[in-house]
Every structure is written in structure tokens, then in C-alpha cells.
């Protein structure tokens, strides 16, 4: 009988050993997966007990912090946003229901102290055993509150966005989306409905939507920078290439007219004998229409791709709050296999109409790339992460995404963009003592919106040593041109950031 007894004893031991194995599984491997589940009531409470780290602007101004209060013997933290709406589209919010948006979502691991190095993890584990509150890391952003405030003030409730960044490093100084919302309302009863009622000057204001990274707008003539990049970089054209402008361009047998003159909206501008450089300076559609037909849609789209169109710009924000730029067909990103077989209209694409839709962030990156001599900087919002004890956990090092155009092409475009501001469509962006390089855009919105435009301006300055690149878009402006509406906003932002 003893042999059987031993067998049964072994079975009993194996059964209990399985339990140790299973416990190990749930407490180590499976742990991370479980703690991220939305229905996890335990993590929900645990998150409330964590002193979530601060989010601060580059000058140390707190944009989000946690305040403790006692509840049934437990210390529970709630989130406050002292800058009330100024940074809501970047910082986002974190609710007591463990629901996060924006940087609050993408930086959650740092802010809750979950993502730290080994020694920190060890000391945190000791803190936990000792029953002390877990303190999250503080995050310093690259944003400058004064520039951000100015951008929101300039947009003044109109729908649109402003992106300003350092073209050399990619550090984002301002990223304003209008209209904005008070993120403190989210955690209040009925607050969400209040935010839904915010109206801008456009139909569907959607304040929770980050126009700077999610908003898809027809780029209008600002896209001529991409077309010109392709034309110059492939060597097929030079800034001095000759064109004749009759006031229109003939494509597929029909005439496509230049834009209406800002002085007399009923007449179409006509320039006669001109050059590619002057075509950009005065934003002559027929010149770019010819360029587009000559180099083909594929060449333009290939250069757009090199600028980062058709992919998500790498940014610290959650990917679901960023949209890729490119041609859109029926709401989907569209890159035909053979764009030159008539599936894409090269002439209209060349001056930014067709079905091209872009985000303000993408256009700011185009300007930054030209400013940076043809290499594209990786945009970033997080400067550094600092542990509660003051030690630095992580610092963002500037990083180049890649070379988009030759440095000679960038230099030529830089010159052409300076002419735009000196005597072309962008004279309203002139700053005394500073050479500004820019490009206007006045995008048509289709037959449903006669004489209503999305007004664009992208620029950088100083032209000989660029410090700041800016993209501005203001939606649905009646007879509103890039030069009249958006260039003055960009100018104000440049002045602020260049301390002029």
C-alpha cells in the first residue's frame, strides 16, 4: 500500500506546486496586461492613491498637478489644471475613472511612477511596503506659455491651429488648437456636455479635437513648397525657369484659373512672362500647374512622402490623436499605385487642391525642414522627466528624422520664401530687422463654400539662421486670405519667440 501512498502524495504535491506556478504567472507575467484593463476596479482605486506627477511648461509653470484629500481614511488625489484650457489639447486630462487623454495618457507610466529604472523600482517597492504614497515623476515640456497664450489669443475663438517649433531641434514651442476647452470641467458633473456645446466660428468646433495634429485641411498654396521641392530637387527646374502665365492653365482640355486677386475678388490674376521663383512669390497657380504636369503626380507625392506625409509624425502624443497627411479618398488615406495614369490630377495637386489634406503639424515640419537646410527634425513636446527626488529620469535628445531635400534645394527655397514676405503674398509677416521666409495658402473648400477659404501661413525666421518655424491655419474665413488672416498671426508668434 505504501507504493500507492507515495504516488498519491506525489499527485498532491504536484497539484499544490501548480498553484505556486499559477500564482507566479498572475503576479508577474500577466500583471501588466491585467492592470491596463478598463474594468479593473482595483487599479482604478490604486491610481487615485498615486500622487500623479506634475506636467510643467519649459519655464516651470505647472500645467497639471495633483491635490490630495482624505476620504474614508484613504488619501485620494485629484487632478487640477491651473492654466484652464490653455494647453488642454496637448496635456489632455486624467479623470478619477482612470480615463486619460493627451500627454496624460501617453506619459501615464512616468506620471504614475510606473516606468522608472531598476533602483527607483526597488525604492518604490520599499515605499509601498512601508505604506508610503507613490509619487510619480514630473514632466517638463518644451512649450512656452507666453507663445501658447498669444497663439490662442490671436486665434480668438476662430477654428484653427498654430504650431511653432525649433527647426533645428524639433522642440515644439507652441501648439494651439482653437476652440479650446477647460479640462477641469471633465471631472465635474455635466462638464462634458458643457464642452460639447462650445461653438467656434466654424460649424463643428469639436474642442476635444487637437486641430494641430488631427485637423485635416486642404493645404492650398502652402503645398507649393512641396511641389517646388520636387521640381528643384530633381533638377528639372531652377528658380529661374521661365513660364508664361495667361491667367490660367489648361488641363484635360479645361482652363484652371489663377486665384482671385485680393484687391478685386472677381478678377483672376494674370502675370504673363514669369519665373518659378516669382510663381512662388506671387503664388501663381498656373505656373505650378505646369510644373505639376511636367514632373507628374508621382514625383510630387514621393516628395510629400519624404516630408513625412502618409505616416504619423513621431510625437509624444497618443497616436490616436495624430492624423497622417496625404491624399484622402472617401475618408481614407490614398496613394495610388500609378498616380500618373490619370488617377491623380497633377496640375491641381501641384498647388495643393486635388484631394490633398494636411495637418498644421505636418506643414510646420515642411517649413522646419527647409529652414534646417533640408533635414527634418523629429518634433517633440517632452523636454525631460524628473523623479520626485530631483534626479533626471529621461531627457529628450534632438534627433533628425532624415534628409528630405538637398541643402542647395533648401537654400533656393529659403530665398524664394524670403521674396514671398519681401514683396509677394506674405508682406504682412514682415518684421523690421528680421528676414522672414514664408508661404501663404488660401485653400478653396469646394462649391458649397463660395468665397470662403482656409487661410494658411507657414514660415520661419531669421531666414539666414532659422530659430523658429511656424504654421498657422484659420478655418472657413469669408474672403479671408493667407496673407491677410494668418500671416499677421504667424508674425506675432515669431516676434514673441524671437523677442522682437
Amino acid at each position: 500500500m505504501n507504493k500507492q501512498l507515495l504516488h498519491v502524495a506525489v499527485v498532491a504535491m504536484v497539484l499544490l506546486a501548480i498553484l505556486i506556478g499559477a500564482t507566479t504567472y498572475w503576479q508577474s507575467w500577466a500583471g501588466a496586461g491585467l492592470s491596463n484593463r478598463k474594468d479593473n476596479s482595483i487599479e482604478l482605486v490604486a491610481q487615485l492613491q498615486v500622487d500623479r506627477g506634475k506636467i510643467l511648461a519649459s519655464n516651470g509653470l505647472p500645467l497639471a498637478w495633483s491635490t490630495p484629500h482624505k476620504k474614508k481614511g484613504l488619501t485620494i488625489y485629484s487632478r487640477k489644471y491651473p492654466t484652464t484650457g490653455l494647453f488642454s489639447d496637448i496635456v489632455g486630462y486624467s479623470t478619477s475613472g482612470d480615463n486619460q487623454v493627451g500627454l496624460e495618457q501617453s506619459l501615464n507610466d512616468y506620471l504614475t511612477g510606473a516606468n522608472t529604472n531598476l533602483s527607483n523600482t526597488f525604492s518604490q517597492e520599499l515605499d509601498r511596503l512601508g505604506g508610503q504614497t507613490v509619487h510619480g515623476d514630473n514632466v517638463y515640456l518644451t512649450v512656452k506659455p507666453a507663445a501658447q497664450a498669444l497663439a490662442e489669443q490671436q486665434l480668438a475663438g476662430r477654428c484653427g491651429a498654430v504650431v511653432a517649433l525649433n527647426p533645428k531641434t524639433g522642440a515644439i514651442y507652441a501648439m494651439a488648437s482653437s476652440p479650446t476647452y477647460n479640462e477641469n470641467l471633465i471631472s465635474q458633473p455635466g462638464g462634458y456636455a458643457k464642452i460639447g456645446k462650445i461653438k467656434g466660428t466654424c460649424g463643428d468646433a469639436s474642442p476635444l479635437y487637437n486641430n494641430a495634429t488631427q485637423g485635416l485641411y486642404p493645404p492650398g498654396s502652402t503645398f507649393k513648397l512641396v511641389t517646388a521641392s520636387a521640381a528643384l530637387d530633381t533638377g528639372k527646374f531652377t528658380p529661374n525657369s521661365q513660364f508664361y502665365d495667361p491667367g490660367y492653365c489648361t488641363e484635360y482640355g479645361t482652363k484652371i484659373y489663377n486665384s482671385a486677386s485680393p484687391d478685386s475678388p472677381s478678377a483672376h490674376e494674370t502675370f504673363g512672362n514669369t519665373t518659378l521663383s516669382a510663381g512662388l512669390e506671387h503664388s501663381i497657380n498656373s505656373v505650378f500647374c505646369h510644373v505639376g504636369i511636367a514632373i507628374g503626380a508621382k514625383s510630387i507625392l514621393d516628395y510629400a512622402k519624404r516630408y513625412g506625409f502618409y505616416s504619423l509624425p513621431p510625437l509624444d502624443l497618443p497616436p490616436n490623436t495624430i492624423n497622417p497627411s496625404g491624399l484622402y479618398n472617401n475618408g481614407k488615406l490614398y496613394f495610388p499605385k500609378n498616380p500618373d495614369n490619370g488617377s491623380v490630377d497633377p496640375g491641381r495637386l501641384a498647388f495643393g487642391q486635388e484631394r490633398m489634406l494636411v495637418t498644421p503639424l505636418q506643414m510646420a515640419l515642411v517649413a522646419a525642414t527647409i529652414a534646417d537646410g533640408g533635414t527634418e527634425p523629429r518634433p517633440y513636446l517632452v523636454q525631460k522627466v524628473v523623479a520626485p527626488d530631483g534626479s533626471t529620469v529621461a531627457t529628450t535628445a534632438p534627433h533628425v528624422l532624415g534628409r528630405v531635400i538637398k541643402s542647395t534645394t533648401a537654400a533656393e527655397l529659403n530665398q524664394m520664401m524670403q521674396l514671398v514676405v519681401q514683396g509677394g503674398t506674405g508682406t504682412t509677416a514682415q518684421i523690421p530687422g528680421v528676414e522672414v521666409a514664408g508661404k501663404t495658402g488660401t485653400a478653396e473648400l469646394g462649391p458649397a463654400y463660395p468665397n470662403i477659404y482656409d487661410a494658411w501661413f507657414v514660415c520661419f525666421a531669421p531666414a539666414n539662421n532659422p530659430q523658429v518655424a511656424v504654421a498657422v491655419v484659420v478655418e472657413k474665413q469669408l474672403n479671408g486670405f493667407g496673407g491677410s488672416i494668418s500671416a499677421p498671426i504667424a508674425k506675432a508668434i515669431l516676434e514673441n519667440l524671437l523677442h522682437k
Partner: protein, 398 residues
């Protein structure tokens, strides 16, 4: 009991202490009641030792009494007036303010019956004579019937496991075990088809998380399964995962929402293991399981050292029952097997569980005392320790 195993009682006391501590942390009022039950359990333990100190093997004489008692105890919750349904299973009785789970004591009675009956009939059973299987099948079949009538799946599984283990030890025939296991599988598939309660338990086990709303078993309304039928299982797992390696520390675990509502119902009885795992972490939960292993190993050591068949079978039944009960509840919590409501020996809140487990320790100590006494007595006389088969056999009961 001078020669009884010296480790069993301290281990039982340690388990009880861990349980009391965790129960106190979850709710001081329950801890007071549990404390009273521990006192009663210790009294029962002492009484059993005292009453059976001369020779516990008189129990063998009353094997059918134990068999019938086991069935009666199991039937009790079905009796009108005193039976009560809690958590979908009808396994409680109440007299006045006192609640009691008779199945826990039924387990001990069944082990005594099986040990006595199998000791007597093991040779003839091994030959496979149908007549001798009769009482076994009747008692065991009755137990199964009652268990399924009360929807007490955990106990059914436990009883079946004990039955199989003892059948194997007694007859040394793996074929019997295989046949019984086959019958069990066929039976459980049939029962799963017939009873929605069982079916739901298995579904909750296999897919506790549903991505789309499914009809909720309790309310019939559409809901995500993790927010309805498998809510308890899933939230308990979240708690275990939250504990991580070192645990949150005692009294730092999270068992209530921010508004003070308890997250996992039955946290201090069926789900006490998840509370311990959250607060003491993998280190603490692992140590607890090792303690169970040590206890079970001591139990089997007693079975090996015992000189007669009844003692061996009784010790094996008690030890395996102890181990298997731990496996059924903790395995259910950890999603190793479908979750069934049953207590964790010595740790869970519940009077019947505490009392029956003190019976169990008393039994093991009585057996070890006798085995060691016989061993030392014979050893002194012959100068050497003889094998078990050379020892004088006990025939008092026949």
C-alpha cells in the same frame, strides 16, 4: 499524545493565525466570530483527542453510521425550513442566528467511511466482484446526487477526488481510477449540458472576458461577462496581480472602491486567497502554499508510518482531502480549473470549515501517535524497526 507528530498542530495554528489576521483586516466583526469558532474548533480538537486517546480505530466499527451520517449531513441544506441558498448553491443550514455548512463535516465522515470500508474490502474489490461494490456505489452515488441537487460543485469535485485517491491506495488498480475518471468525465459533460449553472461556470472559466455584451447569467440582460457572471473571478485576479512580487503590505491592499463598496463579494471566505496574495504578494502567497505542502507531506508521512490499513487509508484520505480542497479553491481562483465555492482550510472565514479541519488535525495526530508508539515499542523489543507487514494486525472490528 506524547508521540504525535510535533509539526502538525503548529502548522495548523500558523494557518489559522494567517487566516484570522486577514479576516480581521477585511472586517473586524467577522474576525471576532471567527475567533469564537477557533475556540470551539480547539475544544473539538481536544475533545476528539481525549475521547479517542485509547484507540481511535473503534471508528472502523461504525463505518456505515459514518456513511449514512455523511449523506444526511449533505441532505440537510435541502431540508425545508433550515436550508438556505447562498451564491447559487444550496449548502447552508441555519439554526436561529447560526449558519452552518454541513458539507464540511460530511467530508470527514465520508473519509472515515471510505477508509473503513476500503480497508475491509480491498482484496475482494481488487478482484472486481460486483457485489462488494454495492455499498460503495450507493453511498458515493447518493453523495454525488445530493451535491448536484445543491449545485455544490466544489464539494462534489473534492469528494470525487478523495474517493479516487483512496480507491487507488486500497486496490492498487489504476484501471479502477481510469474507469472512475472516465465515468466522471462522461457524467460531468452530461451534467454540464443539463444544468445552466455548471455550464456558466465552465464558460466563465474558459472566457472570463468577453469583448461584446452577452446575456448575463444572473439578470438575463446584456452585459460584458467580466462585468457580470465572471466579475468576481476577474476582479479577484486583478487584486492578485496588483499585489505583484512583494504585495501591498498588510492593510494596504485595495478591497473597496473609492466610495467604500466591497469589490469582491465573499472576499474573506471563498476568496481569502486573493486577499492574501494581494497584500503579501508572491512571497507571502508562495510561503502560504509551501506551508500547505509541508502539512500535506507530514500527513502522508503519517500514512506511510501507520501500521494498519485503516490508519493508512484514514491518514491518506485526510491528507489528500486537505491538499485537494486547497487545490480546488485556489486553482479555481487562479483559473487553473473552473471556480467553485469552497473554503480554504484553516484560513477562510467559516465555522464549519474551522471545526471540521480541527477534526482533521486531531485524526492525523491520533494516527501518528499510535504509529510512533507501535514503532518505538516494537523497536525496543527487537532492537530493530521491522517492516509494516510483520507487525501484528488489528482485528478488533471484525
Amino acid at each position: 499524545m506524547p508521540l504525535a507528530d510535533p509539526y502538525l498542530l503548529p502548522m495548523a495554528a500558523l494557518l489559522t493565525a494567517i487566516g484570522l489576521t486577514e479576516i480581521y483586516r477585511l472586517g473586524p466583526s467577522s474576525a471576532l466570530r471567527q475567533g469564537i469558532w477557533v475556540v470551539i474548533g480547539v475544544a473539538v480538537f481536544a475533545g476528539t483527542l481525549l475521547y479517542l486517546r485509547k484507540d481511535y480505530r473503534v471508528l472502523e466499527r461504525y463505518k456505515y453510521v459514518f456513511g449514512v451520517t455523511a449523506i444526511l449531513l449533505l441532505f440537510l441544506p435541502l431540508a425545508p425550513g433550515i436550508g438556505e441558498t447562498i451564491n447559487g448553491a444550496r449548502l447552508w443550514v441555519h439554526f436561529g442566528g447560526l449558519q452552518f455548512q454541513p458539507g464540511e463535516l460530511g467530508k470527514i465522515a465520508l473519509i472515515v467511511f471510505l477508509a473503513a470500508y476500503l480497508r475491509e474490502k480491498r482484496e475482494v474489490l481488487a478482484q472486481g466482484r460486483l457485489k462488494d461494490w454495492g455499498p460503495l456505489v450507493v453511498i458515493w452515488g447518493g453523495a454525488m446526487l445530493v451535491l448536484f441537487a445543491t449545485d455544490d460543485l466544489g464539494s462534489a469535485l473534492l469528494y470525487y477526488g478523495i474517493f479516487l485517491a483512496l480507491l487507488y491506495v486500497a486496490t492498487a488498480r489504476l484501471a479502477f481510477v481510469a474507469a472512475a475518471l472516465g465515468l466522471f468525465l462522461i457524467g460531468s459533460i452530461g451534467i454540464a449540458q443539463a444544468t445552466p449553472h455548471v455550464q456558466e461556470r465552465i464558460t466563465d472559466w474558459l472566457t472570463p472576458w468577453s469583448s461584446k455584451p452577452v446575456p448575463c447569467f444572473f439578470t438575463g440582460k446584456l452585459a460584458l461577462r467580466q462585468e457580470c457572471a465572471s466579475y468576481q473571478l476577474v476582479q479577484s485576479l486583478y487584486g492578485i496581480a496588483h499585489g505583484g512580487f512583494g504585495g501591498t503590505g498588510l492593510a494596504r491592499g485595495i478591497f473597496t472602491t473609492a466610495t467604500g463598496q466591497q469589490i469582491v463579494p465573499e472576499q474573506n471566505s471563498d476568496f481569502i486567497y486573493s486577499a492574501v496574495a494581494q497584500e503579501l504578494g508572491l512571497i507571502g502567497a508562495g510561503a502560504l502554499l509551501l506551508l500547505y505542502m509541508a502539512f500535506v507531506l507530514r500527513g502522508f508521512r503519517i500514512a506511510l508510518a501507520a501500521s494498519d490499513g485503516f490508519s493508512k487509508l484514514l491518514a491518506a484520505g485526510l491528507s489528500f482531502g486537505f491538499a485537494f480542497q486547497t487545490f480546488v479553491i485556489v486553482g479555481g481562483i487562479l483559473r487553473v480549473i473552473p471556480l467553485t465555492g469552497i473554503t480554504l482550510p484553516f484560513v477562510s472565514y467559516g465555522g464549519s470549515s474551522i471545526v471540521s479541519n480541527f477534526f482533521l488535525v486531531a485524526g492525523l495526530m491520533l494516527i501518528s501517535n499510535r504509529a510512533n508508539r507501535a514503532g518505538s515499542a516494537v523497536g525496543e523489543a527487537a532492537g530493530a524497526r521491522p517492516g509494516p507487514e510483520s507487525r501484528p494486525r488489528y482485528h478488533g472490528a471484525s
